[in-house]
């Protein structure tokens, strides 16, 4: 079912926790809400779940308006951050607990519990208590509890944040596999942009109690809507330059540099913030029209690529580059206009090439 969120707002007395969110989540979509702590992403999820009341706006599906319905009437399942397993019940009983008020027959419940445990490969631990399980196994129980309900939408609130890196990677794959096999809608909250990028069909970036951008992972990477998204998505982070385009619309000057350089494409005169992805900032020995002289501060040889750090900028080059700390090099801005991410200095909003280019 399509979940349509319209102008959803949450206020707490004077504080706005979430401001005017609208989005449509498609059936079967893996939809990720990502943002830093306190951005409001969890509040959005909890409003969808019905755990937090809505101040204004609506949540609808084809079935009707959910906004004021109690959680159980929304036909959702949820995986909690700390798993919310009942310590006094066994694994199987915990899964069964999620079926409590669904009006299923006992026989049906038993079948569902068995199936759900099979899906997460926990059949053998059905009679254990949560305490006897590892963190990853506890996470699987929580997943099984959600799966057993056969809800066509599952909400997940930072489900992997309590796991170590290796388990996190493993569970990431596991959740993606389950999503592929079962095809339910997943609404997934995380603060980890890598998790968002690797898992999501679509990502909503939330920051400062507002939606910054909604789009596919590559949308966000290639066309960040503002400086926040540009900086938040991608590791290493975007490089930033302050840029002045001359009145002739053909030349620019970087802040702190005297040189006036030719633009790769004509732009309206004025101030810009320019973002360049590390892989588009080329490290080299030769001085070209877009080159900046730098002294290398640090080098990270990752094998498949080399990261070169200078000041607060970083360049990523495929393969292994022969470069050492303290050497002088040139960082060269890209020639391709697509690799120039221009933002308004005043608002941080993206300035589309169509808007900025003149007389092409």
């Amino acid at each position: 079912m399509v979940i349509a969120i319209e102008h959803l707002t949450k206020k707490f007395q004077q504080t706005t926790v979430l401001d005017d969110v609208s989005v449509e989540i498609q059936p079967g979509e893996f939809f990720v809400l990502v943002g830093p702590s306190g951005s409001g992403k969890s509040t959005l999820l909890r409003m969808i779940a019905g755990l937090t009341t809505v101040t204004a706006g609506q949540i609808r599906t084809e079935a009707g308006d959910l906004t004021r319905l109690p959680p159980k009437d929304r036909h959702l399942a949820m995986v909690f951050q700390n798993y919310a397993l009942l310590p006094f019940l066994t694994v199987a009983e915990n899964v069964r607990f999620g079926l409590e008020n669904l009006g299923l027959s006992e026989a049906e419940k038993t079948v569902r519990v068995r199936e759900a445990l099979a899906l997460v490969h926990l059949e053998n631990l059905a009679d254990r208590r949560p305490k006897a399980l590892s963190g990853g196994q506890q996470q699987r129980v929580a997943l099984a509890r959600a799966l057993a309900t056969k809800a066509d939408t599952i909400l997940m609130d930072e489900p992997l944040s309590n796991l170590d890196a290796q388990l996190r990677a493993e569970m990431r794959t596991e959740i993606m596999r389950l999503h592929r096999e079962i095809g339910m809608t997943l609404i997934y909250v995380t603060h980890d942009q890598v998790e968002a990028m690797t898992m999501g069909d679509r990502i909503m970036v939330v920051e400062g109690h507002r939606v910054q951008q909604v789009g596919t992972p590559l949308d966000l990477y290639n066309h960040p809507a503002n400086t926040f998204v540009a900086g938040f998505i991608g590791t290493p982070q975007m490089n930033w330059f302050e840029l002045t385009v001359m009145p002739d619309q053909r030349h620019y000057r970087l802040a702190g540099a005297d040189t006036v350089r030719p633009l790769p494409m004509p732009l309206a005169a004025g101030q810009y913030r320019l973002g360049v992805r590390p892989e588009h900032l080329v490290t080299g020995r030769t001085r070209g029209p877009h080159a900046l002289a730098v002294t290398v501060d640090a080098v990270q040889q990752l094998g498949d690529q080399t990261l070169v750090f200078a000041g607060d900028r970083v360049s990523a080059t495929s393969g292994q580059l022969d470069v050492f700390v303290g050497e002088s090099r040139y960082f060269t801005l890209p020639e391709a206009p697509d690799h120039w991410h221009l933002f308004s200095v005043a608002t941080g909003a993206r300035i589309g090439m169509e808007a900025a280019t003149v007389g092409a």
Partner: protein, 269 residues
């Protein structure tokens, strides 16, 4: 080595000193009165005769049964009513919550010993004198129990309560399926405490019971003291030992458990 011996002897001596009244009482309960009267506390005549005599010639069994009925009813009542009230305080927002909470708090400052006159008149007016009702109903709840259980309930992770809410559990289901099972050990501790505290009640049954049929065991001991049997020390000690059975069971069996929760739970607040 010598230091160890001194330490152990010292500790044993202190322990024996503290246990002495109990041990002497137990010993005496196993001896014929004639031996006791002569101060001959040797072990030639050890027997359970005093216990047999106590059971046959005194209403001690009746007393113990009454105490058992009364303490059990009160314990069940407090577990139910205090859990209910504690749940409301822990998990539901309602108007005047602070005021109501304060009301409960205040009752802990008011000694029962100062309320006996009107309470006696109330029970009398209700026709509950010398009845189980009069000895149980006034004690079916306690502010202390409400506080202690509220503390325990607040330790239930809020995520579990949310889960219950998310699954559409009613308050009753949340209490029965989540909160109570989660707080099991505190409930057991509180139940034991309540049972024992009421087993040991003295003043209230003293003024509200008049017949052996309903008289609980603590007041029964006084009754036996007042009667001729008191000269028969062996039998008296046997009855006292019977009155102490729940206490001793707790001491030997449940103490570890009791202590752990005493520390983890209510007392630290």
């Amino acid at each position: 080595m010598i230091k160890r011996t001194i330490q152990y002897s010292g500790l044993t001596l202190v322990a024996l000193l503290l246990l002495a009244p109990l041990l002497v009482g137990l010993w005496a309960s196993l001896l014929p009165t004639t031996d006791i009267a002569m101060g001959a506390l040797n072990f030639h005549h050890l027997s359970l005769a005093n216990y047999a005599a106590a059971i046959q010639t005194t209403p001690i069994v009746r007393y113990v049964l009454s105490s058992f009925v009364i303490s059990s009813l009160i314990t069940i009542g407090q577990l139910v009513l205090c859990s209910m009230a504690a749940y409301a305080f822990a998990f539901i927002a309602f108007r005047f919550k602070q005021a109501v909470f304060f009301t409960f708090l205040v009752t802990m400052m008011l000694p029962f010993e100062a309320q006996i006159i009107p309470n006696f008149q109330t029970i009398k007016a209700l026709g509950w004198l010398n009845q189980y009702a009069g000895m149980t109903i006034p004690f079916l709840t306690s502010a202390f129990g409400v506080f202690m259980l509220r503390q325990a309930f607040l330790r239930v992770p809020s995520e579990l309560i949310e889960l219950g809410h998310f699954l559409g559990l009613s308050h009753g289901q949340t209490l029965a399926k989540l909160v109570l099972p989660y707080s099991r050990s505190m409930l057991v501790t509180f139940g034991l405490y309540t049972f024992l505290a009421n087993w040991n009640q003295y003043l209230w049954p003293l003024i509200t019971t008049f017949s052996d049929q309903y008289r609980p065991v603590q007041v029964g001991l006084k009754q036996l003291q007042a009667e001729d049997t008191f000269a028969n020390w062996g039998v008296v000690m046997a009855t006292a030992m019977l009155a102490l059975v729940p206490t001793l069971l707790l001491l030997l069996g449940g103490q570890r458990f009791f202590k752990r929760n005493l520390n983890a739970g209510g007392v630290k607040g």
